[in-house]
Amino acid sequence: MKQNLFLLFVISAFAISVQAQKTTVKGQIKDDTEFTVPGVTIVEKGTSNGTITDMDGNYSLEVEDANEAVLVFSFMGFETQEMAVAGRSSLDIELAPSISALDEVVVVGYGTSTKKEVTGATAKVTGENIQKLNIPRMDQALQGQVSGVAINTNSGSPGGSSSIRIRGLSTFGDNDPLILVDGVVYDSEGLNALNPSDIESINVLKDATAGIYGVRAANGVIIIETKKGSANSKPRVEVSGYYGIQQPAKKLSLLNAQEYATLKNEAFGTSGDDVPFANTDLGEGTNWQDSVFQNAAIQNYNVSISGGSKSTTYSVGGSYFSQDGIVGGDKSNFTRFNGRLNLTTDITERVKLTSILLYTHEDRKTLPENGIGSVLYNTINAFPTDPIRSTNGNYTYLEEVSDIINPIAQMENTHNNAWVDKIVGKEELAIKINDDFTFTNRAAYNYALVDSKTFSPLVWYGPGKAQNSAINEDLDPSLVEIGDSVFIERGASVYESRATYLDLNFESYLNYAHTFNTHHSVKATLGTSVFQRKGSGLNGTAFNIPNNSIEYADISANLAPGGYLNNVGSFQYEERLLSSFLRAEYGYRYKYLISAILRRDGSTKFGPNSKWGMFPTVSSAWVFSEEDFFNVEAISFAKLRASYGISGNDQIQNFAYRAQLNGEGVYVFDDVIQTGVALGRASNPDLRWESTRQFNVGLDIGIGDGFSFTTNYFIKNTVDLLFQPDVSGVIGSYGPGGQPPIINAGDVSNKGLEIELGYATDPIKAYGFGANFNMTYLRNEVLRTPDGVDFLPGANFGVGGNVATRFEEGYDIGYFHGFETNGVYQSQAEIDASDVIQEGAKPGDLRYVDQNGDGMINFSDDTDKKELGSPIPDFTFGLNLNAKLMRFDISANIFSAIGQEIIRNYERQQPYANQLDYVINRWVGPNTSEYDPRLTTEANRNTEFSDYYVEKGDFMRIKNIQIGYTIPKSSLEKLRMESIRVYVSANNILTLTNYQGYDPEIGSNGGPLSAGVDYGFYPQARSVMGGFNFKF
C-alpha cells in the first residue's frame, strides 16, 4: 500500500509543473527503525551532481531546478529510492531495507547471517521452491537445487528413504549430515515425518563453518526452518492440495514367451540337454511387469493459518499425504498426518518465547524390495511362458528356479505395516539484554514411537521354494521337535515390535553484536549444549495365528502350544553429548570479514582417553567490490571467501571402545567341556570420532541486478575412519573368539568444484524469468587403509557370488572390482592360439583380460581383477527454470549426473530365469557377436562379475514441470479470497539414459559399499498431478 501511495505522489508531483529555480535541498535519512543512516549516496537523476549523508544522516544538495529534479537515494542494504523534489527544500527520506538476494538471511547455527556477510560455503532453498516440486519427502527438494549436495533415492517406494551426501562420501560408515529442524536434531531416516509444505527454508552448511556443530558436523549440516507467522498481520488462511496419478516411468525389455522359449531351447541344446520347449510358438505369453505394476494415486492436502499481533505471531497447520505404490498399490502405501504449531510471543519487552510443536503420524506398508527375493526381482526373472494362475486357479509355482516365486502371490501374502508417531518441538526463551546482547535458552525434544507388525501366513509357493512356510499345497504347517520326539506345529506367525526414541537437548547461548565507530562490526556467540538420546524397544514373534488369517494377526491371538516357539527380544541404548562453543566474527566496512569458531564436544561414544574433542574453524571473506580500486561497472558485488576447519563424525557404534566378553573360554574339567567367559573384542580406550579437515575457497559475484555467480573449490580430508585391522598379538586378541579392537585408521579424500549461476528478473514485474544452474564436480578417493587391511569387501554380485565392490586405497569408496572382458571367443582355434589360458573357455564365452600377465586367468583369486567403475558421479548438474507471464507461471527442474556406473545385478543367473532382451544379440557362431556371450546351461565362466555387468549410469531427468494459473484478484473479491492458484504438474516425466534398468538414479540398500548395485530397485514413479492453492 505504501508503495502505491508513493507512486501516486510521484505522479501528482510530475503533474504539477512549477517553474525552474536553483534550490538547496536538505534532509535527513533514516532507516525503517528510525535510525539515521550515514553514507547514503544522493544523486540528482540524470546528472553527476551528488553528495553523501554525514554521520547523522543529514545531507544537503543544490539542484538546478527544484521543480524538475528527481533525487536518487542509494545505500547498500537498502532499496534504492527515487523522489521528486517537487519544489521542496526539505526532503526527509525513510529507506526500506533492500530485499536483494545479498541480504537474504542465511541460518548458520546459533544465529543468522546474510548472504553478503557470510564467510562460509552455504546454500539455501526456499520454501516456495520446495512447495512447487510436489514431492513427498523434503530431501528430494535439495536434489539439483544446490551444488555439492547429492540426494540418492534408496527406494522409490512410498515412504522410502534417500541418502543425503554433502560433498561426497567421507566414510564407509555413516555419511548422513546433521539435520536440524528449528534447532531440533532430526535423523535422516525420520525426514519422512516432515511435510514439505511446512518448510520456510533449508540452509545447507557445506564447509568447515559447519564446525559450530563440532563432532557432528563432518558430513555437513542441514538447517530446516518451518513456517512462522509475521507480526501485525491479519490471519491468513491457506488451503492447498494436489492429487495425482503415478505410473512406472519405464518397464524393462524382457523376453516374451516365444523369445524365451527359443533362447532357452538354444541354451539347453548347446549343452546337449533335452530342450525344454517342444513348441516355441508361444506368442507374448505372460507380461509379469504389466501385472505387477499399476497406476497409483498420490495426494496431499494442507491447511494453515498464520498471522500475528504486535507481540505474538503464530502459524498453525495440518496436512494429509497419501501415496500408493506403483508396485503393490495400497500394499505399499505411505500415509502421513501432520499437525504443527509455531508460536512466538513477547512475554516482556525484552523476553521472547518461541514455542514449536510438530506432530506426525505415519503409516507405511511395505513389500520386499531392493534385493534378491524382492517382488521386482521375482517379476524380472519370472518365466513369460507360465501364466499367473494355473488352470486350477492357484498361482503358478515357477518351479524351475527354486528362489524365484510368483510375484503376484508374494504381494498377496505380504503384510508389513509400520506406524510412527512423532512429536518434535522446542521451547525457547530469548532475552534481549540490551541492544548488543541476546541470551537464548532452549529445550528441544524429539520423541518417536515406532510400531510395526508383520503377519506371515502359511504359504506355499511351490516345491522347494525357500519362502515356503507351509509344507505342502494344502498349507499344512511344519512340525518342530521341541523335545525328545515331542513335535508341535508351526503355523502362521506374527511379529510385532514397539520402539521409543527420545532426544532431549538443552542449549544456552549468548549472542553479541555491536558496531564500533561505524565501520567495525563485531559479533560473537558463546554457548553450551547438552544432548541426550535414548532408545528402547520390545519385540516378539508368536506362532499359530488362528485360521491362517490376517484377521487374527496379533500376538494376543496366538495358539502356540505352551508358547514353545514364540520368542521375544529387546534393546535399549543411551548416548550423551556435552558441548560448548564459541564464534567470533569481525567485519570492517562489510569489506573484510573474519570469523573463528571453536567447539568442544564430549561424547559417551568415545573411549575414556578420547572423551573430549576440540574443533576449530577459521573463515574469512573479502568483498573486493567495495574497494575503491574496483570499478568494474557490470559487477555489482564480488566476494572472495576462504575457510579451513576441523570437524568430527560421531556416528559410530555405541561403546565400540569397550572390550566385550564374547570370546570363547572353554576348557575341560573332569572330562566335561566347561564353558567359561573370555574376552572377545578387545578394548580401545583411545577410540574417537572420525575427523574431517576441510578447506574451502569460494567466490560470489553479482552481475548487474539479476545475475549471480558462486563457485567453491574444496578439499575435504577425513581421517581416523574406524577399522578392525590386525593388531599386535601382545594385546591378546587372538584367543578363541577374540577380535582385535576397533581403532581409528584410514583416510578418505573428497575434492570438488561447485558452480552456481543464477538469473532472476525483478519479481514484482508482471513478466519475469528466473534460472538457476548448478554444477558439482567431485573426486572421491580412499587415501589409506591400515596395515593388514588390503580392502574392505562390499556388496556381492549374484547369489552367493563374488564380492563386487570394495573400499580400497587409491579408489573411490565402493568402487567396482572384477574381470575386464575384451570380447567373445569366436572359435576353438582362437582359444587354442591365445597367449592366455582361460580355464574352461569355449567359443562364445567372454574373453577375460589377463591383468597380471601370468598367462592365465586366475578365477580363484583377485589377481586378474581390476577397477570396473564407480557409483559416484563425476559431475552432477541441476537446472531450475521459472517464468511468469501475466497470470501464468511455469517452472521446470532438470537434474543430471554423469560419470557413474551401475552394476546390473537383478538378473538371476539360472537356466530358466527370464532375461533382458539384449540376449537376443548373443553369440551363436563365429563373428555373430563380439560382445554378448553364448547362451548355454553348461558350466561356464560368463557369470563371473565382469565389466559385462557394469553399465554407464549417466542420466538426465526432468524432475518436475509445473504450469500454474493465478486467478485475477478482481474476480476473487466476491469470494473474499486473496488469491487462487491452480496448476498441473508432472514429476519424473522424462529421463535420458542408456541404462537398461528401471531407474539410473539409484542409491544404496546397505551403506556406501552397496551404492550403485541394482538388485531391481523399486523405481521412482512418473506422476501427473493437478493442484490448487487458496489464500484467504
Binding site: F437, L526, T528, Q572, Y573, Q660, G676, G729, P741
Partner: protein, 490 residues
C-alpha cells in the same frame, strides 16, 4: 548492566560446569555385561578362570615344534608346503615369517591377557575360594610367559593390565631374566596357595606349580633352586611312576600317580582346520596319524611329526620305550594277521617309516565329529618321570650325584633297565640322554638341547648364536610399532 552481568556470570558458570562435567559422559551400556563391568560376583571369577585355562590347549604346538626342531623328528605332512612353517623349522631355515611361530606368540599372549584380565580385577570383591582362583591364574600366567620366553627370549612383560593399541607401540621387549623373575614370583605365589590335590581333574595343583618352578629354574641353570624345589615335589610322596610305560599316553589312563601337570582335551566337540586354537580336542594325535591308514589299532591322519632313524637308533633294542615312543609302521603291519589288507599312504612332506606312538590317533580314542582334530588325549606337560629327571639333572649339576643317581635310576628301573653309576659330567650327560629316551615325542627335546648346549652338535644346520631362540614374527614387530630388535642373526 546489572542484569547483563548476572546473565554473563550465569552463562559462564554454565559453560564451566557443563564442560567440566565428565560424570555426565560416564555411562555403561544398559543391561549389558561386558569386559568393563565384569567381576562383580564369585562366579564371574570362576568363569573367567575357565577362559584363562583355554589357551593352554594351544600347547599341542609344543609337541610339534619341540620335536620337529630337534633331531627327534621331521615335519612330514602332505607336502613341504603343508604347514610350511614346520618344514622350515625342521630344516633350520625358519625366518621371521612363520605362521606357527606367530600362533605361539599370539596364543600365549591371548592367555596372558585373559589371566591379566582376571588379576587386574582381583581386588574387586572378596569371597571364599578367591585365593585359589588367583593362584591358578598366576600359575597360568607363568606358564604362558614361560612358553614365550622359551621360544623367543626377551618378550614384553605385561602384568595385571590390558594394553591399548597405542600403548603397545611404546612397549619394549623385557629382558628374559626379568620375565623369568615374574614367572618365579607367580609360581611361588601359586604354590603357596594351591593344595597338592584338587578334586576336579584338570585344575593345577601345588605339585604342578613346584614342578614348573623347578623346570623354570633349570632353564636358567639355577640348579640349586631347581633341586630344592623339585625335591619338595618328590618328597611330598604324592607322586609315583606308574608301572606300565606303554599305558602312559592313553585316554583311559589319565590323572594317575604320575600326573603332575596335564593339559586337558575333550573329543566331544567338533572343530575346523580354520581355527586350531578354537578346538577343545588335541590336534596333535590326529595330525600325527598315519596317512590314509586302513588297518587295526590306529586311525588315519596327516603323517605329521615323524620320528627319525636317529631317534630310533638312540634306543637300545631292550628298551621297551622304543616301541612305546616310535611306531615302526611296516614292522607293525607285518606283525598283524592280515598284513596285505592293511594300507596307508606316504605323504609328500617326508617319510621315515616311523610315527609318534605316544600322541597318535588310536581307535577307541577317536573324538567326534572331526576326529582329525578332536583327540581327547591329554597333553602330559610334566609327568613325574620328568620331575625325577629334572631333579636328577639339577642334583648332578650341583654335585649331589647320589641323589641324581637315585632319581634317574628310579626312572630306568620302571622300564627294566639297570642303574647308572657314573658321576660328574658323565652322569649329567647320561641324565640328558635318559631325558631323550624317556621324554621323546613329548615336545621337550629341542628346548632341552638348547638349554644344555647340545643343540649345535645334535641338530643338523643348527647355527649357534642364532637358533637358540626362534625369531619374533616380523609382522608382530611391525604391528608393535617396529621398534623391537629381532633376535640375533635372523
Amino acid at each position: 548492566m546489572r542484569t547483563l552481568t548476572r546473565i554473563l556470570i550465569a552463562s559462564s558458570i554454565a559453560f564451566v560446569v557443563t564442560t567440566g562435567c565428565n560424570k555426565f559422559l560416564e555411562t555403561d551400556p544398559l543391561f549389558t555385561q561386558d569386559a568393563e563391568n565384569y567381576f562383580t560376583n564369585p562366579q564371574d571369577y570362576e568363569l573367567a578362570l575357565v577362559g584363562a585355562y583355554d589357551l593352554m590347549q594351544g600347547s599341542f604346538m609344543n609337541i610339534w615344534i619341540g620335536e620337529i626342531a630337534s633331531d627327534n623328528s621331521i615335519a612330514g605332512g602332505e607336502s613341504v608346503t603343508d604347514t610350511k612353517g614346520l618344514h622350515e623349522i625342521d630344516a633350520m631355515t625358519h625366518g621371521a615369517v612363520n605362521t606357527e611361530l606367530r600362533s605361539v606368540f599370539r596364543w600365549n599372549y591371548a592367555g596372558i591377557t585373559r589371566t591379566n584380565y582376571l588379576l587386574e580385577n582381583k581386588d574387586n570383591i572378596n569371597f571364599t575360594g578367591k585365593d585359589q582362583i588367583i593362584a591358578e591364574a598366576k600359575f597360568l600366567r607363568a606358564y604362558y610367559f614361560f612358553q614365550l620366553v622359551k621360544y623367543f627370549g626377551d618378550v614384553p612383560l605385561i602384568v595385571d593390565e590390558r594394553l591399548g593399541v597405542d600403548e603397545v607401540s611404546e612397549l619394549d621387549r623385557t629382558p628374559a631374566s626379568d620375565v623369568y623373575e615374574q614367572i618365579e614370583l607367580d609360581l611361588k605365589d601359586a604354590s603357596e596357595v594351591l593344595d597338592w590335590t584338587n578334586p576336579v581333574k584338570g585344575h593345577v595343583t601345588k605339585g604342578s606349580a613346584l614342578a614348573l618352578l623347578g623346570k623354570v629354574y633349570l632353564y636358567q641353570n639355577k640348579f640349586a633352586e631347581s633341586a630344592t624345589t623339585l625335591d619338595q615335589v618328590i618328597e611330598s610322596n604324592n607322586y609315583a611312576l606308574i608301572d606300565d610305560y606303554n599305558a602312559l599316553f592313553s585316554v583311559g589312563n589319565e590323572a594317575h600317580s604320575e600326573t603332575v601337570f596335564d593339559i586337558e582335551y575333550s573329543g566331544l566337540e567338533g572343530g575346523g582346520y580354520g581355527c586350531l586354537i578354537c578346538l577343545e580336542g588335541n590336534a596333535a594325535p590326529g595330525f600325527h596319524g598315519i596317512r590314509q591308514y586302513d588297518g587295526p589299532v590306529y586311525g588315519d591322519g596327516n603323517s605329521y611329526n615323524l620320528p627319525t632313524q636317529n631317534l630310533y637308533d638312540a634306543f637300545s633294542s631292550s628298551d621297551i620305550r622304543r616301541e612305546a615312543t616310535i611306531l615302526d609302521l611296516d614292522a607293525f603291519i607285518s606283525d598283524q594277521s592280515n598284513p596285505s589288507e592293511i594300507t596307508y599312504a606316504v605323504g609328500g612332506g617326508g617319510h621315515t617309516g616311523y610315527y609318534n606312538n605316544k600322541y597318535i590317533k588310536r581307535q577307541g580314542e577317536i573324538g567326534l565329529p572331526d576326529n582329525d582334530l578332536t583327540s581327547p588325549v591329554n597333553y602330559r606337560v610334566i609327568r613325574y618321570a620328568d620331575v625325577l629327571l629334572m631333579a636328577a639333572e639339577a642334583h648332578s649339576e650341583n654335585g649331589t650325584d647320589g641323589k641324581a643317581q637315585q632319581y634317574v635310576n628310579e626312572v630306568r628301573a620302571r622300564v627294566g633297565l639297570g642303574g647308572l653309576s657314573s658321576s660328574g659330567d658323565a652322569l649329567t650327560q647320561a641324565i640328558w640322554q635318559e631325558r631323550r629316551l624317556e621324554l621323546s615325542g613329548e615336545g621337550h627335546r629341542f628346548f632341552d638341547l638348547v638349554r644344555t648346549g647340545q643343540a649345535e652338535n645334535e641338530i643338523t644346520d643348527f647355527v649357534a648364536g642364532k637358533h637358540e631362540l626362534f625369531p619374533i614374527p616380523q609382522i608382530e614387530i611391525d604391528l608393535a610399532g617396529g621398534i623391537w630388535d629381532q633376535n640375533p642373526n635372523y
